[in-house]
Amino acid sequence: MIKGSKLRGPIGRIGPYAVAVFLALGIIEGIATGNVPYSSFAFGCFFIVLGIIEYSRTKLFTYLVLGLLWGTGTWHSIARFFVSFLSVETYISHVIVSFSALALTWPVFFGNEKLESNARKLFNLAAEQVHDALNGFTDRPFSAAKAEYKRDEITGFARFLGGKKIVKSIIKQDVVILAFSMGISPIKEPDLKRISYVRFDSEENVSVHISEYDYKRFKEELTFDQLCASLGDVFINFLENYKKGMESRIFVELKSVAK
C-alpha cells in the first residue's frame, strides 16, 4: 500500500523485496544445511512467473524473455551440481546472455517502467480533484473541454511529453494523441481501445479516454466523468505551462503526487 496514492500498488514493486527475501533464504539454507540451497528453484520460479505476469499485463515480450532467462539462470546455478552436461562455464555463459539481453532491451524495459510510473502520477494528479466515488465507468471517450493552441504548439507539446517519457505521443495530420497506461504498454503501436489517452484535435477539442484496466487500478470507484474531466484539466494545465515556457512546472506537479 502506497501512502497518499489512490491507486493500487504495481505488482512489479514486489520484485526487489522478493529478490532480497529469496537471497536471504538461500544464504540461511546454505549455512544451516551446508548443502546446495534448494530454495533457488523457487527463486527461479519467481522470475519466470513475474516475467509471465508482466508480459500478460504489458504485452511486451521483453518481460517474458528476461523472466525466462533470469529464472532458468537461477535454476542453472544449482542444476550444474546434478546435471552432468552443465558446468560453471555453461552457467557463466547463461549469465552473460541474461545480462546482454537486459542491456539490449534496456531502452524498452526502462522506457516502459518510466511511462508506467508517470502514468500513475498522472492518474493520481487527476484523482486529487475527485472526491466522489459513484463509479459510472463507460468505455466511451469523454469530451473534456476546449483548449487554445496552434498546430505547432500542440505537436511541440506532444514531442516534449513523449521525449520525457511522460506519455507516448502519436502525432497525426489532424489529431495529437497522448497515450499512457498502467497496463498494456503504449510503447509499441498501441491499441487505443485498451489504453488511456488524451486527444487534441485540430478544432481545439480535448477528449479523454480512460481504459477499464486503468480505472480498476483505483482503490475506490471514483466518479468517472469527474475523473475524466480532471485528467483533461491536468493536460490542459500542462499545455498552458508549456506554452508559457514553464515546462519545469510540469515536473514539479508530477513529483508532487504519490506514485
Binding site: L134, T138, R140, S143, D174, K193, R199, H209, D225
Partner: protein, 198 residues
C-alpha cells in the same frame, strides 16, 4: 395511403397469381372465388383470401348472392387504377412533433454496452449490446452513421448531468437535419437499457 396499407397491398401484389386474378376481374363484370379458382387452377381458399384482402383494401366490392339458397359472394372491381402513394415525410414529421429533441438523457449505469471509437476521429463507430442471459445471450451490433457516432461521443456519462438531445447535438456539432437518425438510435438504445431518459 398509409405505410401499412401499402405494405399489405405490396405483399398481395407480389403473389404469382395476382396478375391473373386481376385480369379476370378486369374482364368479368363480377366473379366468385370458386369461378376464379377453377379458371386459374388454384385452391379456392387462396383465391378467397386474395379477394377478401382486396375488398378490405377497398379495391373490390362484394355482393352476396344465392344459388339454391346457398349464399356466396361475387366480387367486382371498384376502380381500374391503383395508385400507391406514400408520403414518407409524414413519418419524419410525426417523430419531430413528439418533442423528442427536448428529452433529457444520459448513459445508463452498468449499461453493458460496448462503444467502439473510431481510431483517430471523434465519433463512435459502433455500439454492441448483449441481449438475454446465459446460453440465450445474443450479441447485437449496430454500425452507426457519422452524425449518430458524433452524437454518442458526446452523450453524458452515467454520473454526469442529463442533457437534452438538442443540447448534445449542439455540443457534438451535429446539424438538425440529422435529428431523425439521432432519434432513431436513441430509441433503439433506450429499448436495450443503454441510455436513461429523464
Amino acid at each position: 395511403m398509409d405505410f401499412k396499407t401499402a405494405a399489405k397491398l405490396g405483399a398481395y401484389f407480389s403473389k404469382d397469381y395476382a396478375q391473373n386474378i386481376f385480369e379476370l376481374l378486369v374482364n368479368y363484370k363480377d366473379i366468385s372465388a370458386s369461378e376464379a379458382a377453377s379458371r386459374l387452377s388454384l385452391h379456392i381458399q387462396t383465391v378467397q383470401d386474395f379477394l377478401e384482402a382486396m375488398t378490405s383494401l377497398d379495391i373490390l366490392s362484394k355482393k352476396e348472392v344465392h344459388e339454391k339458397k346457398r349464399p356466396y359472394f361475387r366480387y367486382a372491381l371498384k376502380k381500374k387504377k391503383i395508385i400507391i402513394d406514400i408520403d414518407l415525410a409524414s413519418l419524419l414529421q410525426k417523430k419531430q412533433h413528439e418533442g423528442m429533441l427536448s428529452k433529457r438523457i444520459r448513459e445508463n449505469k452498468d449499461s453493458r454496452a460496448r462503444f467502439t471509437t473510431a481510431r483517430y476521429d471523434p465519433y463512435i463507430s459502433s455500439v454492441t449490446v448483449w441481449i438475454g442471459e446465459g446460453r440465450e445471450r445474443k450479441e447485437r451490433k449496430i454500425s452507426l452513421t457519422i452524425p449518430q457516432g458524433k452524437f454518442l461521443y458526446h452523450l453524458p456519462f452515467p454520473t454526469a448531468e442529463f442533457m437534452t438531445l438538442a443540447e448534445i447535438m449542439q455540443k457534438a456539432e451535429v446539424d438538425k437535419i440529422h435529428a431523425p437518425e439521432i432519434i432513431d438510435i436513441i430509441e433503439w438504445l433506450e429499448k436495450y437499457g443503454v441510455i436513461k431518459v429523464k
